[in-house]
């Protein structure tokens, strides 16, 4: 059975990336990530397979992100999450943040769980309490909206070179 320590070691990066993009601010995402694993540590860890445990952790993260947004603590005017790339990409990252804010919450969560943390359709379905088919269609829709909003900037980034990676 996985302990809270093991879950922290395995999922902290994914949870942080998801929260960074979800709340739009690295400091807040850091605090929320710590809060996620505090809750994990205080709760009895379910006896389940690793995918179900990952979904459970992300469900907690999603609930905290929703609470954070609902409490009006969201500060979109502040700095973006700490991207590791150059200024041109930072502009694109800011555009991504704005585009994500315009998405319906469920589409944003499905997209971010997939692309920042690498959750499978089944894991996202469990975390968001929807069906895997709904995950597929929401993901498709989110990608379409983001592609449309980011437009040429995304193509320009792609022109610099892409590689097939699986998000972790």
């Amino acid at each position: 059975m996985a302990t809270a320590d093991v879950l922290f070691a395995q999922h902290r990066e994914g949870v942080f990336r998801y929260l960074c993009r979800s709340v739009g601010q690295a400091d807040t995402a850091r605090d929320l990530t710590q809060e996620v694993f505090l809750r994990v540590a205080r709760s009895p860890v379910p006896e389940a397979e690793p995918p179900a445990l990952r979904a459970w952790v992300f469900k907690i993260a999603r609930n905290l992100a929703i609470n954070h947004a609902r409490d009006g603590q969201r500060r979109p005017e502040t700095a973006d999450p700490p991207d590791r790339s150059g200024p041109a990409t930072q502009e694109l990252a800011a555009a991504l943040r704005q585009a994500l804010e315009r998405l319906p919450a469920i589409e944003r969560d499905v997209f971010l769980m997939r692309e920042t943390a690498g959750l499978s359709y089944d894991e996202i379905a469990a975390a968001c309490e929807i069906t895997p088919d709904a995950v597929r269609s929401r993901l498709q829709r989110a990608r379409g909206h983001l592609r449309e909003t980011l437009g040429g900037a995304l193509s320009a980034r792609g022109a610099r070179g892409v590689r097939l990676t699986m998000p972790r």
Binding site: Q34, T89, T116, S120, R143, L164
Partner: protein, 135 residues
């Protein structure tokens, strides 16, 4: 396997997500220029979305506890007991009066009473009578 009704973008999305897809449908989707553009855009989007600096905890690092050697623990214990004994001894010792204070003496030893200038003599039975009882 995905069904044949899915659009090409569905197939491409599922493919880059590691899902099992119909190879014929994937080939068909990628045969179109817009399908290939879509694939490149999705990969760029994935790279962009996941490009976040690593998590660094804001909590102060927890310093691991170093076990104290036995001899050091014994030395600390002896020092504590010795220090406590000395402190107790000093606290209960009678301290002499500090220098610079004067010794207080009874007043009659310091000043002699003056000699009487008039002596009044009282005689029993004349100046007072003695009775028994409390009246």
């Amino acid at each position: 396997m995905t069904n044949d009704n899915e659009t090409g973008t569905d197939i491409i999305g599922a493919f880059i997500d590691g899902e099992r897809v119909d190879p014929a449908a994937l080939k068909a989707a990628l045969a179109r220029p817009e399908g290939r553009d879509y694939l490149v855009d999705l990969l760029a989007l994935r790279e962009l979305a996941g490009d976040v600096a690593p998590f660094v905890s804001s909590a102060p690092p927890v310093r691991p506890l170093i076990p104290l050697p036995r001899w050091a623990a014994a030395a600390a214990l002896i020092a504590c007991i010795g220090g406590g004994f000395l402190a107790g001894t000093r606290a209960t010792r009678v301290t002499p009066a500090p220098a610079g204070t004067t010794q207080v003496t009874p007043p009659d030893a310091r000043v002699r009473a003056p000699e009487p200038t008039r002596v009044v003599r009282l005689e029993p039975g004349v100046d007072w009578t003695e009775t028994s009882g409390g009246k």
